[in-house]
């Protein structure tokens, strides 16, 4: 049964959104509101400080380095790569990355024929349990608007060019599936250790606005 209500009439008709400006101590009004909400929720026993800290720690403990380890393992181990494509959450768990709270993860693999780009036009859906917090630009209106209609221009803005002989495939994450790009292993990395390979895998390459390349490692050295 579909319940579709006009959301503008969900009891919020009298909500005033005043913006009195930044307070003398530099805190924006919404900072004050969330602190007030925090204090009230704790006072009323709705949440404990530990509940909040646990949630903060959860997101803070995730980072693109986790995704990079998954990619590097897939590059060196074809059997792992197959398991990753078939069941990404289980493959992540093999490396100690707990994505069990994500409903579903799909890994999309770049090839000589296809380059993938991930976006959430409706909000900011992102594989947070594998990559951590999304970058500000991923959540921006301009990325959300343009990634679907002019992905090549967006990718070029990030400094990456994809030839016309390669399909650019955009994935708009509109439901409970989170997408992770498995980039191609760059040339010139034969015999590299997993650790060194993982260092090439950037967050942006797992979103699709970049690809890993050896010069990155050299730049960092």
């Amino acid at each position: 049964m579909t319940e579709s209500h006009d959301a503008h009439h969900q009891g919020d008709g009298d909500h005033q959104h005043e913006h009195p400006g930044v307070q003398p101590d530099g805190q924006p009004p919404y900072a004050q509101r969330i602190r007030a909400i925090e204090a009230l929720l704790i006072e009323k026993g709705v949440l404990t400080r530990e509940d909040i800290q646990r949630s903060v720690d959860n997101i803070e403990s995730r980072s693109p380095a986790d995704g990079a380890r998954i990619v590097a393992r897939a590059w060196v181990d074809p059997a792992y790569r197959a398991r990753l494509l078939a069941n990404p959450k289980a493959a992540a768990a093999e490396l100690g990355i707990d994505a069990s709270s994500v409903t579903e993860v799909v890994v999309v693999e770049n090839s000589d024929d296809v380059h993938h780009l991930v976006v959430c036009t409706l909000c900011s859906c992102y594989p947070r349990q594998i990559l951590g917090r999304p970058p500000d630009w991923y959540k921006s209106f301009n990325y959300r608007s343009r990634a679907v209609v002019e992905p090549r221009a967006v990718i070029a803005e990030f400094g990456l060019e994809v030839g016309d002989d390669v399909e650019v495939r955009v994935h708009d994450s509109t439901a409970d599936v989170r997408y992770l790009v498995l980039p191609q292993r760059p040339a010139g990395t034969d015999g590299w250790s997993e650790e060194d390979l993982a260092r090439l895998v950037t967050r942006d390459s797992m979103i699709g606005v970049a690809t890993p390349h050896v010069e990155m490692a050299e730049a960092r050295a």
Partner: protein, 106 residues
């Protein structure tokens, strides 16, 4: 034929989009708090992600477009907490005033 009125959060393919600002910022304490409270409310089953999205989408379009990312989360959380009768707007306003007196300018 598109007889649909686009909701404010439905951003795909809007014609007036500009260059993508790639500046990344470190989260302020209050933004961490917004994340933490959001996550905790979900983890305890007090509200689900779909409800929080719906709440944010219900903000007046000019507000939705002018608020920063975590400000939208906070506005949305407030809507849901009030809707569910967990907090009232008056309580929140009073607590804001109380905290402001305690820690505010001076």
């Amino acid at each position: 034929m598109d007889d649909e009125v686009r909701a404010v959060h439905d951003r795909g393919g809007r014609p007036d989009a500009g260059p993508i600002d790639r500046t990344e910022h470190q989260l302020e304490d209050w933004e961490h708090l917004a994340e933490g409270i959001s996550g905790a409310l979900s983890a305890k089953g007090i509200r689900c992600t779909d409800e929080s999205r719906r709440a944010m989408e219900s903000l007046p379009p000019d507000v939705y477009e002018s608020l920063k990312y975590y400000e939208r989360w906070i506005a949305g959380a407030e809507i849901i907490l009030i809707e569910k009768g967990i907090l009232t707007r008056e309580e929140i306003d009073a607590k804001v005033a109380e905290l402001d007196q305690r820690w505010g300018a001076g």
